[in-house]
Amino acid sequence: MSRFLTFPRGGVHPGDMKDLSKDSPIKTLETPAELIISMSQHLGAPAVCQKAKGDRVRKGELIATAASFISANIHSPVSGTITDIRPVTLANSVCCDAVFIKPEPAEDDPTFDTKGYASLSGEELLGIIKDQGLVGLGGATFPVNVKLTVPIGKPVDFLVLNGVECEPYLTADYRLMLEHPRAILDGAMIISKIVNPGSIIIGIEANKMDCVAVLEDEIRKAGYPIKVAPLKMKYPQGDEKQLLKAVTGREIPSGKLPIDIGSIVCNVGTVNAIQQAVAFGKPLFERVVTVTGNCVRNPGNFLAPIGTKIRDLIEAAGGLVEEPDKLISGGPMMGFSFWDLDTPITKGTSGILALKYKGRQQRQTHCLHCGKCVAACPIGLEPTMMYNLITSGDYAGAMAHDLMDCKECGSCSFSCPAQLPLVQTFRLGKKMGRAKK
């Protein structure tokens, strides 16, 4: 095997903590007693609800439609009755309307059988992807059809599948690659038909070498022109910018997209969902969620309908052994902390963490000027300077230090010995900086 690749600048090595849940196969969650489906499942404008209180819906039925170009359709994961439509607060503190559904399984629920799709054109495939409400499942939840619509005149040299899953604790993508390698590869070929890439590469970090072996084996059997690139472990390698640098050697300039350097990146979970949508006509209404952390009795991976309450997921994982210090939606580096167990999951929820911090909480000190944040920043920013500028109220100065290029990956806060709330400060600084402009 070739030598392991990685990105050269910055990055940190948080303990991966994946052992908690990596050996537990994906379990299908029993249909919960109630689903809360937010209209904001994706990046962009919230979808427009097409149903009213009291309506009956069928499994897989369209309940809300994309509101604009960057938006996505939403489908009901179950058959049932809409009991209410009212605003809820999501884990990322976004507040928006949500449809409350009481599931009532019916005899004639659709089963989603195999469909031939070999004869479909790229455009038709793109249409399916749009209709079925597909968004990126890696966390950014960008509508997939928008991403795969390549502007005319821009060649696609690389299609990169993101199997990095560099956030500690999360194992959803890991289990998917291990259990459904063929679906992922078929999905890759579907995308390939749409965008015509020069080559297809799957990036996987070294803590998942079993996935590398399984996928390489499956590629050989299927005879697909796909390569697997094992990567050195380093956070945030799952970010598009770092992944592309590691795999293709190209850098995305500030404010540009992967397509500007001839690349498209798709998370393996998304690719799997694309395959489900195209080969089975199945809308995106469920996803794999890792439920883990040292407060969870039986950490594991669950295939759960969108809109499942986090309480139900934690219950399915055996409940909590002690009260956590923090509940997190997503990974510990970039995820959102929340407190309400009745918060529903969305298309972007890759994991639920219940963490208890061991040991003494460290106190904050002055910045030591140690430069660890500078060394850790994968973008080449100087967090210590930006922090000083923002805390002294000089937002314009911080912007001049490229504050807007910070992607809030958390590498700097993670390494800061003075325990300064760097990322939090940068969020504030961006808000203030934008407001001032």
Partner: protein, 355 residues
């Protein structure tokens, strides 16, 4: 209580206190060695330095209503000052140095993180210029015999004084030591006979030379440095570049003051003498007063090497490390302003083209 706060929700194991603790631990072997070869008097000096530094910090805490004793920076500053004192120093001097370091160098700028000069170095240099003669009296390790112990000079100043008499043109510092019969341990002599390495170099490496309490054993200081690199408290850049640049300059130009011409200077030996390693590993790597970028750190270290070389070879004092580092401390904000990390995805702006 479930807390809601900003990401990230995990943190590396390093914090201000643990880092200071690790640096203190890394200094310990060398400090203990100092006590071992110079006797209990050295221990008294160390203890007094630490105590007065902590007391000064405590007093300033009372005034500023901040609590900073727990972060151990005051202990570290005190320890460094003690290790930079001659074991024979009058006890008032380390007290003065510590108080100066904490109260003037550190706190007038607002406490840890805000000072522009390494407090321990500031304290040391302050007392050095105030009490030059008392600061220049050293004792020899007991293992080297104690003939006229109190007036014994460090090897550096010994060679320097001899050189200025003008009698030794054409000899390097080690040869001067030899002709002037600077004491050497029996162990080094026998090791020298079997390996061909100069006996004075061997003594300096293992820690049998006159000097400050904490600077005599090159071996233990290097071990301390390796410990800090292994535990990721510091990176190798500053110590290695500092040593390399100084060694290189010494090799090329170091022979000039001795009249032996270019490319005749000693390479390794000067690194083992005086406060070089203590400075390069523990003072020049002080976070607060060194640049934040790698590139900046390398420039900083080269500057330290250059000034150390100039001061040691051509200055009137034998010791140049402290001053060299302080000079570079002063330049640090400037380095930080102009040396910026290369930004990810940086593209050269196209001339004349629209953005």
């Amino acid at each position: 209580m479930i807390k809601v706060s900003s990401s990230p929700h995990v943190h590396s194991r390093q914090n201000t206190q643990s880092i200071m603790l690790f640096v203190i631990l890394a200094l310990c072997p060398s400090a203990i060695w100092g006590v071992f070869v110079f006797g209990l008097r050295a221990l008294v000096v160390l203890a007094i330095s630490i105590a007065s530094s902590v007391a000064a910090e405590y007093a300033l805490n009372l005034i500023s209503k901040e609590k900073t004793l727990w972060d151990l920076t005051a202990v570290l500053t005190g320890l460094l000052i003690g290790m930079n004192m001659s074991p024979a120093v009058p006890l008032g001097i380390p007290v003065l140095a510590s108080v100066f370091a904490i109260a003037v160098v550190k706190w007038t700028f607002g406490g840890v993180g805000c000072n522009w000069m390494n407090p321990a170095l500031g304290g040391r240099v302050f007392v050095f210029f105030s009490f030059s003669s008392a600061m220049s009296r050293f004792v020899l390790p007991s293992a080297l015999g104690n003939a006229d112990a109190v007036s014994s000079a460090t090897t550096l100043s010994f060679a320097k004084t001899a050189l200025s008499s003008g009698e030794f043109i054409g000899q390097n510092s080690l040869q001067i030591l030899q002709t002037q019969l600077y004491p050497v341990s029996r162990f080094a002599e026998s090791l020298s006979n079997s390996t061909g390495i100069n006996a004075y170099t061997i003594d300096a490496f293992f820690g049998l030379q006159g000097g400050c309490i904490g600077e005599v054993s090159a071996l233990l200081l290097i071990l301390g440095g390796l410990f800090l690199i292994a535990t990721k408290v510091i990176t190798w850049h500053i110590p290695v570049v500092y040593a390399a640049s100084y060694a290189l300059l010494n090799w090329v130009f170091g022979g000039l003051p001795y009249g032996t011409g270019l490319f005749s200077g000693l390479v390794i030996d000067p690194l083992l003498r005086g406060g070089f390693l203590l400075g390069a590993i523990f003072m020049a790597t002080d976070y607060v007063t060194t640049p934040v970028t790698r590139k900046g750190q390398v420039i900083f270290a080269c500057g330290c090497g250059l000034f150390t070389f100039i001061l040691r070879s051509f200055g009137s004092l034998a010791e140049g490390v402290s001053l060299a580092i302080i000079i570079m401390n002063i330049v640090t904000p400037t380095i930080d302003r102009y040396v910026r990390p290369k930004k990810f995805g940086y593209v050269k702006p196209v001339k004349g083209g629209a953005k």
